[in-house]
């Protein structure tokens, strides 16, 4: 039971940190500070515009990949293969 609780807490930590990145890359860079980021350019893109139409989506993919990696590691540590 005790290991279950620490597994769950570790799981929550991973979820909360990744959701913060999720929030920052979409609602943050794509919407809230988007106009400010537009002062910078990458290639022909204004940075805020790039985040709202490309960067946020790319970060979402990476967030899930990192989540899978961290959770598989956590499962191994607590020896729950997920069957």
């Amino acid at each position: 039971m005790k290991t279950n609780i620490s597994y769950w807490n570790a799981n929550l930590m991973i979820v909360i940190s990744l959701l913060s990145i999720w929030f920052l890359s979409s609602f943050g860079a794509g919407i809230l500070f988007s106009d400010y980021l537009d002062n910078f350019n990458i290639g022909g893109f204004k940075l805020g515009f790039w985040f709202s139409q490309q960067g946020s989506i790319i970060s979402f993919v990476f967030i899930i990949v990192i989540y899978c990696f961290l959770m598989n590691k956590l499962d191994k540590k607590y020896d729950s293969g997920g069957d």
Binding site: W8, L19, W22, G44, Q53, I57, I58, F60, S80, G82
Partner: protein, 582 residues
């Protein structure tokens, strides 16, 4: 080869493929019918989820809508992909561990209540039907333009195809046809996008071409687009026009709605293990992101292309595609200053927005409309849907590319329709019959009822496609707000809280749904003249109100639960169990 023959060949071959797969993977038990026996490989499930998810709206309409919204179009791009992060991190692994057949299954068991299950079924049916009507219509439009048959015939052909593989194959048949449909639709989307990117910027990768300089000119594509639009009197393409709070809320509603859509969630019940559910969500989003990062590039290419081809050119010398789409009624031109030359600019060319055509032709051969003309200089009405469909023609690409786009659009519409039909039929046969009204039926009888309700649902969807109620197009966008405010919060609370009880969940779902629904009905149907930011609650449009509905749901669920009895001990055990992968 003639375009129409080619289209028949390519679309026909893709249909034959789908039916072949369905016959090969026929479902023989309820387990196979509902969740494909739970043995789908995570990558295959990722592809199936992507096809399931990307509907006629994603394939046909999205790039066109963005091309006229500019930067604000990002609400759809972020909203319809960001939901997968919520799904992967907050729902999919736990619901897979729970391991039953349907979304109401989880709500009914976790909140130990037939009423909760019943309310969940109602929300599910409501959300899924509004969504499916749009798909059947999409099938009809593609048939009428590319195969030159009547829209209604198109809808019926689509119904028959979906009937064959959804009713026979169930989830098993749908899964493997969706894998094939993903391949068809992504190929069909990418080929013209790559061609056009090369034509305009010389870069074969649309995502990079989008940020490159125009071929043989020393100016970036997006800068050029801003310049051209400014000249015509439009806002900058790369600048946001809507208020921040509205953009924020629409994005949020679309994200939470995506994560709460039953036909997407149920796909994660089909993989063997919890870790597969996570991996599979990653694959799904990757497959979706390929299209979703290409779409905004297509939007900017096609807007520029469209203006360059149309603005200030004589009607009589316009390319054939312009006249084709005018004949279907998705483009109209009214020569306001009688110079025979097309002028394009901001504002609606016609009063009442959509053209109503008379049978007469004008002196240049254009179709005349009976609408009153508006006072601005814009002479062009263009339906946004054609930006993707007409794109290959606008860029003068070979006929096989045009035929491929038609097959891709059909794949997108059919795969989503099938996924929706399946959750509707399983909600009826499994949740309503087996779990509430007729618990005594055998597995075989349940399977029969599942097939029967799928057949009935297809017939109803087809009727919606043939006689589209005027409100369908408007309502589809709201399916997300409704899912966000009803289903999504109770799923989250069911997993992350042990304290929320049945009374809290039921009142939460109902209050969230009623709040969102009445806000939408008020501004869209009762007083559409008030539908402007001055009258909106906190400046939030009906499209974004689902976020507030979601908060209402959370609020009531928590308050009611805290003043009523906590859930019984076995529910706490259930929650503990789904939190552990093994």
């Amino acid at each position: 080869m003639d375009l129409q023959v080619l289209t028949y060949l390519i679309a026909g071959a893709s249909f034959a493929l789908y039916i072949g797969i369905a016959l090969w993977s026929k479902a023989s038990s309820t387990n196979e019918f509902y969740i494909a026996g739970g043995g789908v490989h995570p990558v295959a499930n990722g592809m199936a989820t992507a096809a399931d998810w990307m509907s006629a709206a994603s394939f046909i309409s999205m790039a066109g809508i963005i091309s006229f919204m500019g930067k604000d179009g990002a609400v759809y791009l972020m909203g319809w992909t960001g939901g997968y992060v919520l799904l992967a991190l907050l729902l999919a692994p736990y619901l897979r561990k729970f391991g039953k057949y349907t979304v109401p299954d989880f709500i009914g068991d976790r909140y130990y209540s037939k009423i909760a299950r019943f309310v969940a079924v109602l929300c599910l049916i409501f959300v899924s039907f509004t969504y499916i009507a749009g798909q059947m219509r999409g099938v009809g439009i593609v048939f009428s333009r590319f195969l030159e048959v009547d829209i209604n015939t198109g809808v019926i052909v689509g119904m028959v195809i979906v009937f064959i593989y959804a009713v026979l194959g169930g989830m098993k048949g749908i899964t493997y046809t969706q894998v094939a449909q993903y391949c068809v639709l992504i190929f069909a989307y990418m080929v013209p996008a790559i061609f056009i990117s090369i034509l305009i910027t010389g870069n074969p990768i649309p995502q990079l071409g989008f940020g490159s300089k125009i071929l043989n000119e020393d100016i970036y594509l997006l800068d050029k687009l801003n310049l051209v639009l400014n000249d015509l009197g439009f806002n900058n393409y790369t600048q946001s026009v809507r208020s921040k709070i509205d953009v924020f809320c629409i994005t949020g509603a679309l994200m939470a709605g995506t994560a709460g859509l039953p036909h997407v969630i149920v796909r994660f019940f089909t993989v063997p293990r919890v870790r597969d559910a996570r991996t599979s969500a990653g694959w799904a989003l990757l497959f979706i992101a390929i299209l979703y990062t290409t779409a905004p590039a297509v939007s900017s290419f096609s807007r520029l292309n469209f203006i360059n081809t149309i603005h200030n050119s004589e009607y009589q010398t316009t390319p054939q595609w312009f006249k084709n789409w005018e004949n279907i009624g998705l483009i109209s031109w009214s020569d306001k200053n009688n110079d025979g030359i097309i002028q394009y600019g901001p504002g609606n060319a016609l009063e009442n927005t959509k053209p109503i055509f008379s049978n007469k032709r004008g002196e240049n051969g254009e179709r005349l409309v009976i609408n009153n003309l508006s006072t601005n200089k814009n002479e062009i009405y263009i339906d946004r849907d054609i930006m993707v469909l007409a794109n290959p023609e606008i860029a003068a690409l070979p006929n096989w590319v045009i035929a491929l786009v038609a097959a891709g659009a059909l794949a997108a519409a059919l795969s989503t329709a099938a996924g929706l039909l399946l959750v509707i039929s399983s909600a009826i046969s499994h949740d309503l019959l087996k779990k509430i009204f007729r618990p005594s039926i055998s597995d075989n009888q349940e399977l029969f009822f599942a097939r029967l309700s799928a057949a009935v649902a297809i017939a109803i969807a087809g009727i919606f496609g043939i006689y589209p109620p005027a409100f369908v197009a408007q309502v589809v966008a709201f399916a997300f707000g409704l899912a966000a405010s009803s289903i999504f919060p109770v799923l989250i609370m069911g997993i992350f809280s042990k304290r929320i009880n049945s009374a809290g969940a039921i009142i939460g779902m109902i209050s969230g749904l009623i709040f969102t629904l009445s806000y939408i009905i008020f501004f869209k149907f009762i007083s559409p003249e008030l539908n402007a930011s001055d009258y909106w609650l906190f400046g939030i449009s009906p499209e974004g109100i689902g976020v507030i509905g979601m908060l209402v749901n959370f609020f009531f669920a928590i308050i009611i639960s805290s003043i009523t009895k906590p859930p019984p001990e076995e529910i706490k055990t259930l929650v503990n169990k789904i939190r552990q992968p093994s």
